[in-house]
Symmetry: none
Subunit: 206 residues, 4 copies
DNA sequence: TATGAATGAGAATTCATTCAT
DNA sequence: CATGAATGAATTCTCATTCAT
């Protein structure tokens, strides 16, 4: 209810007239390209094809725009993780691979969003940051639980699960920074490779 | 002795001395804390305890300040890598571990600098970015060469050296973002753990 | 169907009557509280529980809203003065007291309106101000006539009737600025006291 | 030697041309003419013959400008009252007349300032208002003490000293709103008339 | 009658930068 | 070496107002 409509009107091209969505899309792209402080609300309005004031009709402030964006992205990512894990059995390796897969897929198919969530977090005002901190911790927990479970069951042999988790997450997150959409490597293939990397990091032994 | 403002920063940043160093230190901290665009030149001057004009005496512009910082950091990091590799034999595993070690150490002991080099790169103006791009590529080359050598020699068995390299580098870089100086883990211990992670990523088999 | 815009729907809409009156009442209160320029048309609409557009349906502009208010207040006050004097004999002291009484009563029972008429006069556009200037002069004339009549008849002995008039009017007008509705003094008592003050100012000798 | 920015103003201000004083003078005139909210900082800057930014070099905000002005005026007025009373004997009638005289003089010779202090008080932010509230109360106290002393000594016979005080003060304050500098009446003469009015209000009997 | 969506002008304030001294 | 004073452009945000529906 709070942000974008449930129905997505399409992946791109803000059509004139869809005020709110055009602004959100423009903000997303601008923040991703130049960062929060590097983006002026004029940039956003221009990109959305609207006036400066229209922006304020839909959003109370630039900060609110960022917060709404980060919130939506964070929820979206978390929901996908949750869903993927629900469809996966309880084998730790399977679960780790599922989480890696969904993350890689998200970083690739939602590059722009991923970079915002990863890089602009620090530009949230404390109030907004705190509101989302719980969700962030929950996402961390998804990884941590799988890894500690794998270690407990003897599937993973890494002795430093925190470092393993951080390394895996950092590697996956970085994808959004270097991935070029027209590269030759396919998404499933990339996901496979990162799943392999993750399994090796936790020292999985079949 | 030249007194011209273009002089190189000789000693290793004593926190507050005379003009130039105070400014550089203040800029470093400010950029790291709030990002380039989130920092005003007044923030820097205030932090340095100097007037705005003093800042312009030493540096022609805010962008120049960033460029100088990024340049220094990039050179410094690269020099350390180079040095470490020179003191290491030609065993790929040894070399990979050496590079991980020096990187982890840098990310921890120069957290602030690491974050600037990693996050503010995109705020360099094209001219400055291009001037440093070669050095960046060279650093990438250090990792790539080691890995491809290891694969060639049969020490590493990973089939996707580019992904392995990116994963290792991303994991190491991320340290600067989460490391807390007063955490209980020691630096050598941390370096060991990341060396292990790296070896597993490239699928090293002793 | 797009989501609600930034501004909250405002759950506590005042139970005011329909459109026009709600707007007038809201404008009256807002102008009194924060002044004409300190009040935005949005403040008024919000207070009236109506949309911005509804406001423009009833009033062509913010300035018109002020002018209408001042006009109504000025007429209302003048009518009361006129009425009171009509019901009073031709004894100057009686007439002066009657005018004081009606003024005090107005300043107390219509505090908000009194302050608007007194303080926001200068924010009328020249056209509106001129339209009401005659009425203002007429009100001044009521006082002046009584006083000069009293002097002529030997009832009042003040030698400076203009200053006397101004002092009496200023004293009465100021009531609207300090009077607290829940104070212990009753309105008739207050009117009596000010009547006494006025008589002393004009140096009335029974 | 000019004062440091954003600090206290010098005692003498009006000479136009030096940044700080020009701004203060321009703000004074603008606020008096159109009120705080009716004045834009552009108006002030234009009037001062300076750029918008110069204004912010000297004053941190528009509100600060108002607060500084009101503070200076209030102090100045109070100081004069205090001084005048110190030079006056302890006869209540003499003291009341002295206070009236100094007030009338202030309202006439500092019309602009008087109107600001009287009309823009409500546009001070709570913090600033509270800081000055004590001084305001002290000024009220000067009047109240004299009147209650006069009543106690049997010099004044008014039975409602609060109303008397308010009426006198309101009458004096209003002068700033109607007085025209080129009117034919001289200042001492005006002061005499108001002293007479005041004595009659308190029902002074020689 | 009313509203939702939009706008251009203008609000206060901050920006990086300059320059005489 | 360093500063105090200033500036024009840009910043975020609010204003009164409009108009199709």
């Amino acid at each position: 209810m709070s942000t974008a409509p449930a129905e997505r009107p399409g992946p791109d091209s803000p059509p004139r007239g869809g005020g709110r969505d055009a602004i959100t899309a423009a903000a997303r792209e601008s923040f991703a390209e130049r960062g929060y402080h590097g983006t002026s609300i004029r940039d956003i309005a221009r990109r959305a094809g609207l006036s400066l004031s229209a922006l304020y009709y839909w959003h109370p402030s630039k900060q609110h725009l960022l917060a709404a964006l980060v919130e939506e992205i964070t929820h979206d990512y978390f929901r996908r993780c949750d869903l993927a894990l629900r469809e996966t059995g309880d084998d730790p390796a399977d679960r780790l691979c599922a989480l890696v897969r969904v993350t890689v897929e998200y970083r690739v198919s939602r590059r722009v969003e991923s970079n915002i969530a990863n890089l602009e977090w620090r530009n949230l005002e404390p109030e907004n940051r705190e509101r989302l901190a719980g969700l962030r911790r929950a996402a961390t927990g998804l990884w941590a639980d799988i890894i500690s479970d794998g270690v407990a069951r003897g599937a993973f042999h890494d002795e430093h699960p925190d470092e393993a988790r951080r390394a895996i997450v950092a590697a996956c997150n970085a994808i959004a920074q270097w991935y070029e959409p027209d590269g030759e490597i396919t998404l499933p293939e990339l996901a496979d490779r990162y799943a392999g990397i993750a399994l090796r990091i936790v020292d999985h032994r079949g």
